[in-house]
């Protein structure tokens, strides 16, 4: 297993998609800094009695949300790229245990997604605090890092979940287009549908969707967003695991059964 892990790590590291996706994550963090700078400028230009009307979504949460999509795409490309070129046959020739290959890919991707996600969220937080300073803009939490860290951790886990969903979907569909289409549906389209469902179904569906789980896991819920807040942290963790386990399990069975 160590050999498979090391091999998959080398592969992911030398995959061009990896640097492209991580580059996009850096750009996202940069955009958040730009947004903070813009908001700070707006805030300064407003008369003090109107400043309360200015609200900006939490920048670290925005990074978490966009980062989820980026890393999910990386999860897709880590598998679909091999199918597109036929390299999957080289992979299964040198490592005939396909279950082990999938596990190694998932483990390496999870570590990369967690580190990249947490780093991007922390960087966004730090830049945000630096730029916004003591301006009390609504939506921007001025709480110290120690208080926010559980949420940041939960958001990083959600990014890992998205990445692994992408990996599983790509292994099932063997196609980047199909996998990314399903992902975007999960990330954006279905939450929109949930938002427009009549109560209490909107909240119920909204609470189990991948995008809502980080807030529920951290116990902060999802105020002011599409996501529901019905699940306890333990339940949120269980649902998170299920979101990973189901596509992964299907992928593992299909990989072993199908001809490569």
């Amino acid at each position: 297993m160590i050999d498979a892990l090391a091999a998959e790590w080398l592969k992911l590291r030398t995959l061009r998609s990896t640097s492209v996706v991580l580059g996009v994550v850096v750009v996202v963090v940069g955009l958040m800094a730009l947004l903070a700078w813009y908001a700070a400028g707006l805030w300064d230009g407003l008369p003090p009695d109107q400043r309360d009307h200015l609200a900006v979504s939490s920048l670290p949460e925005l990074t978490g949300m966009l980062g989820s999509l980026c890393l999910a795409v990386l999860g897709v490309l880590a598998v679909s790229g091999e199918y597109a070129t036929g390299m999957i046959r080289s992979t299964f020739t040198v490592m005939p245990s396909r279950g082990r290959v999938l596990a190694a890919k998932a483990a390496v991707l999870a570590v990369v997604a967690f580190c990249a996600g947490l780093a991007a969220i922390l960087a966004t937080y730090a830049l945000g605090r630096l730029i916004i300073g003591d301006r009390a803009i609504r939506g921007q939490s001025a709480e110290p890092l120690a208080r926010q860290f559980p949420l940041f951790l939960a958001m990083s886990l959600a990014i890992v979940m998205f990445a692994l969903i992408g990996l599983g979907l790509a292994a099932i569909t063997r196609s980047a287009v199909a996998a990314i289409a399903v992902l975007v549906a999960l990330w954006y389209v279905i939450p929109l549908v949930a938002f427009n469902l009549p109560a209490p179904w909107g909240d119920r569906l909204g609470s189990v969707l991948p995008g809502a789980l980080a807030g529920e896991l951290a116990g902060t819920g999802n105020p002011g967003s599409v996501g529901g807040s019905l699940l306890s942290p333990a339940a949120a963790l269980a649902v998170m695991v299920a979101w990973v386990a189901v596509p992964y399990g299907v992928a593992a069975v299909l990989l072993t059964r199908r001809d490569a």
């Binding site: 080398l10 030398t14 046959r89």
Partner: protein, 308 residues
Amino acid sequence: MIEVRELTKRFGRTVAVDGLTFHVKPGRVTGFLGPNGAGKSTTMRAILGLDHPASGEALVGGRRYDRIRHPMREVGALLDAGAVQGGRTPLGHLSWIARSNRVGRDRVVSVIEQVGLAGVARRRIAGFSLGMRQRLGIAAALLGDPGVLLFDEPVNGLDPDGVRWIRELMRGLAAEGRTVLLSSHLMSEMELTADHLVIIGRGRLLADTAMRDLTGVRDVFVRSTRAADLAAALSTALSTGLSAVGGTVTPEGEGLSVRGLDPVEIGDLAARHAIPVHEITPRAASLEETYLRLTEDVTDHASRRADR
């Protein structure tokens, strides 16, 4: 040693490989021939555990491929040279393969040199020609220094220099006692490279035989200004039982086609009768002729000849 036993593989209703049995022995190059769609690639994929057979089995060194712990150290394969991700460099591509099978870094460098890619080891594969990709695929196959090697159409896209390099490489690997299975459509190249042939058509075995049994000496062509005199002398020699029974002498253009006597016997005989001889050429049946005759009935996509 590769053992294919009663191997059957279906894709939907199509039977790609149909009860195929053959062995590939070490120490010689075994050519794997068959028309397009005969099941060569499917058989190779089944040997490597990539395709699951409907029945039968393929064993390498007595084991199923997927039971081998470090397969690259026992079996090297080049199936599809295009099947690499263009974003990597040869060094990157071979490094992960080496790491997956605990093959040392120094081996990566030495195979890159062996296949002649040292100058482009850090360039992106995307810009490589088919010939360079073939070399990279061969490097990957050789990486684990395996005793069994499978190559599917390795000379595709190579220049004459590369073709000769492959031929010498294959012969060298077999001479070291390795098992080499090589598929190709280039009959003339196969004739020069392989010692043994396995020919299949529509998934079934057509021939499993030594190269020399397929391409032995057919006749000797002799040219002489006194062809008629020579023919008489040769006929007499044949009828007096000098050589094998059933020899014949038939006029052919300016000369004679002789069966049953070898060039030395013909030359000696002509000298004894003081008949000038301008050419003595032993002629072999080409592999191509034999192959086309064997596969005539099983070719799925044959181009119909105009005179038929």
